[in-house]
Subunit: 201 residues, 2 copies
Amino acid sequence: MPKASTIKAKEGTKAQLLEAGARIMTEKGYNHTGILEILQETGVPKGSFYYYFASKEDFGLRIIDDFAEAYSQTLDEYFKDTSLSPLNRLRKYCEDGRKKFEAQECRKGCLIGNLSQEMSDQSEIMRVRLEEVMNGWRDRFADCLKEAQKQNEIPARYDAKALAEFFLSGWEGAVMRSKVTKSTKPIDTFIKMVFEKLFVP
Amino acid sequence: MPKASTIKAKEGTKAQLLEAGARIMTEKGYNHTGILEILQETGVPKGSFYYYFASKEDFGLRIIDDFAEAYSQTLDEYFKDTSLSPLNRLRKYCEDGRKKFEAQECRKGCLIGNLSQEMSDQSEIMRVRLEEVMNGWRDRFADCLKEAQKQNEIPARYDAKALAEFFLSGWEGAVMRSKVTKSTKPIDTFIKMVFEKLFVP
DNA sequence: AACACATTAGACCGGTCGTCTAGAAATGTC
DNA sequence: GACATTTCTAGACGACCGGTCTAATGTGTT
């Protein structure tokens, strides 16, 4: 009996469930994703699911938390990179997002954005959590834009938080349009407009 | 027997189904909306549904078509209103959209936008139809912006179609953010940024 | 070995889903 | 008014869902 690997698999069960859940829900949404499907993909038996999670909603909430935590580190990589100017950090973030989206054939998009659209009217508890996560992102963008204002990369006459909200919602909308057109053009247009017209002195 | 009203009800059965379907799907999405639910709301018996529609997907497609046709007239009301300047037509469109969204307690949002997000990766035939509808809107916006360029309301150095795409995706994103924050603030910010920064000479 | 505790097995439930077919009701034709 | 045709309805059907349950198994401690 491979004792060590068995133990390792067990320890990772919850994480496996969360990973598969996030991946499948990003593509298929919350309602269209079945627990059975996640169980089959991970090889975890059905009986175990409700040992780890109280309900599907609880599962969804933990997926959001997990994703938010991991993504926070991704944001660090971009926004703590002092080798680039604040605006160029944002630009790199956009361009890498574009590349990633293209690499997955203009599918899926953003887990948090998708769930926000789908779940805001369906589950108040998920809505609140989703709002917190996205507000956190907006505030990160706002910090970056404030920095850009300090360095005179962008005009100081607009509230950085409003600019960040506009940027975030515009990005999410562009991703949605890119999904439905199966092309990166809407994202390309977003990047062009933001950096050539919106973020100019 | 109230023959006339019976006949009328029958003639309207399909339209009733489509109306209720559009209303419920706007709020709950395609996957989370049950046919039974629509049937109960309209009083139409279950067996009738598949007489009028080949499948749920076909039903969804017809809802999209119906909505697109009706919405095209709504767009006419705004964009054929020559008593306003082109930019003010667009502004009125935004502000009325904001009011409508607020009136329904920051819920629902845009049927086509919601379905685009939800269905693009799930049904190719719906994706294509959704893309056509939204591209049509974008082109209407672009025509309005071209007119605005002619009248020197906005700078001519940007392609009106790109501007329109940016406007459309930004609007959809702002509605999504407003749904999740249960506030019109993201929409307000969008309107402010678009008309004070993006659409300025 | 005996114990408590963590985890898994998988049957089971009530419910809803989308689909289908038989036939009732309405309509048209002669 | 009888018959044929089309239009519409009734409700059963099987598949699958999220969620729950009890029994069994594995693990670590003493």
